[in-house]
Amino acid sequence: MRRVASVYLPHWSTDRLRRKTAKSPPDGGDTLSPTIPLVTAIPDHGRRIVAAVDAGARALGITPGMTITKARSFAPELAVVDAQPDADVDGLRRIALWAGQRYSPIVAPDAPDGLWLDITGCASLFSTEAALLKDLHRRIAAFGVAVQIAVADTAGCAHAVARHVPAGRPVTIEPGDHRKAIALLPIAALRLEAGIVEGLRKLGFERIEQLIGTPRGPLAKRFGRTLHRRLDQALGFAPEPIEPIFPEHLPRARRGFMEPIATPEAFARVIGDLVADAVDQLGRVGKGARRLDCYFHRVDGQTQVIRVGTAAPSRDPKHLSKLLAAKIETVEPGLGIEAMTLVVSLIEPMAARQGESLESLGKRGPDLAALVDALANRFGGRNVHRMMPQASAMPERSAATAPALDTARDAGWDDDLPRPARMLARPEPIEVIALLPDDAPRLFVWRGKRFRVTQGDGPERLHGEWWRDGGVEGEQPFAVRDYYQVETMSGGRYWLFRAGDGENPSTGSMRWFIHGAFA
């Protein structure tokens, strides 16, 4: 299922100017104060008219198209700057390239004031789609740019919702709901010329809902084909491709085909060619690939992409082709692929290496990078990792994940502290019979089963990290846990603890928990 996010930057021109002058004030020292309304102006038949307004100016009733003279009558203090449409588009392009690195390989600027992101299949990088959108929203807002985001199955729907549903957070139209979502929006949300919108309004059409239920023939005759093309795009009946942009300096290779291809074998062969080209370019600039994006351009105009990452820079054509080939099955060729583009979207310096001598061939260590890449691309980069020691008083935080190829850190935990082999994700409450304040339990009941304890050792007293705001300590800054190792009748060994020191209620609830099992 395709998922498209539309990013709307309602005050892009003015936000960009404010941001620019804040960073490098012009020679006159005249920075644009956030309290003074700001508009940009363009010449029009010998007078100047408003091109873009900021939030302050809009609140005063100033709208694009108004003459500057009239605008000044609303707000005498109005700041007016000449519009720079080229710089606006250029800035949009830069944001698109940034988003392309971070969120999705298919990103394009949507001039004059928006972005397209095809986030199909990209959500897993942020665990959920909502998390991805939240991150995108937060980061763009942090640039000082007003932003509205919507995501839907079709580009048209996302575009309409982003611009016509003012919400302080990203709006998600659930898969399949795009028809319902746009039905109530005004006709103008369909990206039509002003003349068509005006004409439809005169006929009594206000909302898209009315348009969906009306016979098409008469309307098409009067308003042309654009109207229903836009409607179909929003409803998902007509394709609306997003043509992705790439940074100029990155190595890339492209192959167009005389006849569309559609079989995995053909893709694999082309990938081999493309990778060979890209590796050649990488070798010349002394870089290695960290991430590859392979675009499949379908005959119906849609673009699909597979993205693979490597854990260490690589220029090994065999390895890179293999990573890409493993993902071919996710490509839906439809009626066929007419061109393929490979872009090395993340590069890192990589020194030239001497070819292997005959002796070294036999006793080389295993190629961990290749294996880790293969696993990471199949199961997700975060799911292939090492566990490294982390200084923490609480046992569940004493092991932290680290990148799979990271071996730089000194590895090791205390050798004399007993730690369980299996740890429960969160401690489970148990019923116990124990003597206060510090005897090991004699009997405990866990998951409805009674365990009679024959021997025990403890307590090992752990104090919570009172400086933390979250976790256990968030609720109880003086948390104490007394840990006991106990052995049951059958010989099984468990790790139990009592929340609290057994005397002072402020250190814990005195309830007992099981936290894991020993060997």
Binding site: D367, F379, A399, A421, E487, G491, G516
Partner: protein, 243 residues
């Protein structure tokens, strides 16, 4: 005497036909009583081994450390494929399997764990590959066994929370073990001695099942056989012969 020589030759021939054990090194436990029961005198690398605990979490924990101890004594990086993260790395460290040697793969499901294992087993030079799964088929065990033979990497399937009756299914694994906790020696003071496990060799290709009671891994991954326990396996053996 003659008979045993014939038998030995036959066993060698079968091993050669099966293509396992003969080509790759073995990892001895360092305890004669166990090693002499295993063809080649130890656990064969380049082969699949099955290890199970029981539905009891403590038994699964014992099986975990049993595996960690074996892997601690093999050189090379170890891939540990999990369904979810309930393994606690510091405990592996205590059994001699250092953190910088293990890479974890959280695959999410049994099918994915097996995919990850197979991918790992195609890479020669690893120390070992562990996959924690609930259920798997005979066919899957054959695939993993073939992959392990090809690369010479020791492969371990750890059947989590496995009930005893589950072990009747066929398998292509070289050995099948069941590890359960056993009461340890009473020290007479409120403290715990070295843990004890019952390790049962339920199935071994080219050998007979057997069970021992051992002391758990030390800091280098070695099992112990205390003098107090030496007699008990012998008694168990007698029972088995009688049966």
């Amino acid at each position: 005497m003659r008979e045993s020589v014939v038998l030995q030759n036959l066993r060698a021939q079968i091993a050669q036909i099966e293509g396992a054990g003969a080509r790759h090194a073995v990892v001895p436990f360092g305890i004669d009583a166990i090693d002499q029961r295993l063809p080649g005198g130890g656990l064969a690398t380049g082969a699949l081994h099955e290890v199970a605990g029981s539905p009891d979490l403590a038994d699964d924990a014992s099986a975990t450390i049993f595996l960690a101890g074996i892997l601690a004594r093999i050189d090379g990086p170890v891939f540990w494929c999990l369904r979810w993260r309930d393994l606690f790395a510091p405990a592996l460290h205590l059994a001699g399997l250092r953190a910088d040697r293990v890479i974890y793969v959280e695959a999410g499901s049994d099918a994915n764990v097996m995919l990850a294992m197979e991918e790992c087993l195609r890479h020669p030079g690893l120390g070992g590959v562990v996959g924690e799964i609930g259920k798997y088929s005979t066919t899957a065990s054959k695939r993993l066994q073939l992959a392990a033979e090809g690369s010479g990497v020791a492969a371990f399937v750890f059947r989590r929370a496995s009930k005893v009756e589950q072990s009747v299914e066929g398998t292509a694994a070289m050995t099948r073990w069941r590890i359960t906790a056993s009461p340890s020696e009473d020290l007479g003071i409120p403290s715990l001695g070295r843990p004890r496990w019952q390790i049962a060799l339920e199935r071994v290709r080219g050998g007979n099942p057997h069970a021992w009671i051992v002391e758990g891994c030390d800091a280098t991954g070695r099992l112990g056989l205390s003098s107090a326990l030496v007699d008990r396996p012998a008694a168990a053996e007698d029972r088995q012969v009688a049966a």
